[in-house]
Symmetry: C2
Amino acid sequence: MANRNRLQSDKENLRQEIMDAAREMFVAEGYANVSMRKIADKIGYSATTIYLYFKDKNDLLHQICEQTFARLAANIKAINLLSDNPLEKLRSGLREYVYFGLKHPSQYEIVFITPLPIQPEGDFEDSNGKIAFDTLRTVIGECVTANLLKHKDIELISQTLWAGIHGVTSLLIQHGSFPFVEREKLIDSVIDTLISGIRK
Amino acid sequence: MANRNRLQSDKENLRQEIMDAAREMFVAEGYANVSMRKIADKIGYSATTIYLYFKDKNDLLHQICEQTFARLAANIKAINLLSDNPLEKLRSGLREYVYFGLKHPSQYEIVFITPLPIQPEGDFEDSNGKIAFDTLRTVIGECVTANLLKHKDIELISQTLWAGIHGVTSLLIQHGSFPFVEREKLIDSVIDTLISGIRK
DNA sequence: TAATTAAATTAACAGTGTTAACTTACATTC
DNA sequence: GAATGTAAGTTAACACTGTTAATTTAATTA
């Protein structure tokens, strides 16, 4: 029993070790430029060992994405507890999303930017992505209930806002050479424009 | 002289033939899933012949992108001639941008989404994508001149709008497994929200 | 101690981008 | 018209890739 647990723990450790190494390398060199052998080398195992923990290279990437989705969702949920004003919660949630991306550009890149060569199965219902997005849906629902918005289609409004903040986040993360105006100014402008565009 | 020209013309033809075949296959199967040999097979040449016309696979894709985005810039410019109403020009220009991206997802991905390692040298400053962005600046300038907008910072407003439409475009291209609302509805919502958010 | 099982490895396959050496066909020059 | 030069295209090869199957190694159980 004790042995069994220690073994399972070891197995979990190696699994996490693979994910950490892979995430770091994917971000540094790009998904396509990181081979299974390179990942294995980095952690001192043979390439095929990875296949004992992940179905294939795409699955490995997908699992990394799930982990990051979970962290983002937890952050936004925590933020939503700090206020009772729906619009205020919405604004600070959107800000948290963008700054989470800028604070963890590597993770954001993997989850939202790195192109997935083959889209994983349509199991979105069980993913952490749904949980993260649900917090946005919830806040928008509160805004609708409080009769603060022009329209009442919660799903449509949520996706509209996500598109907007994803746009500014991803542009700021990767197009460093583009002569953007000051970061905070641009972020505020996007969020102000979006909220101003949906509210009554 | 006549012979020389005919030869050069043939060479141009083959170059274009390669680009056409490659573009078609990149879009249909994805950049990563199309090999140089497959492209060569399709046009009845050996794979290495492609290297007589393009530095490498990335260069081939980059040349395709430049050609495609020259068309985007031309499209938007043409659209801007159809109306005198700045806001109307703005709206149809934004729509053209998004639909162009969805129509050419591989090219859009490389120019605006793919992380740095693959990006070629002079990236944004000399690209046709930059030219397209300049047309956005111009139209925003017209809106400001016509006193139609809340604020007057042309650069800030242009970048805000770009962030918004880039967001919806890249999300729709990459996150195919996410249960988006109907595409046209979402695109209209984003553009309506953005314009509603900046106008007086 | 012997049998079983899990974990990790080696070997191999079919495919990749890319380079270098080679062949072919044609234009130019003597 | 034959010899030369040159450009276009091909073949062969290299060092990789993701992935599977067969095999070894180590630990647990009987």
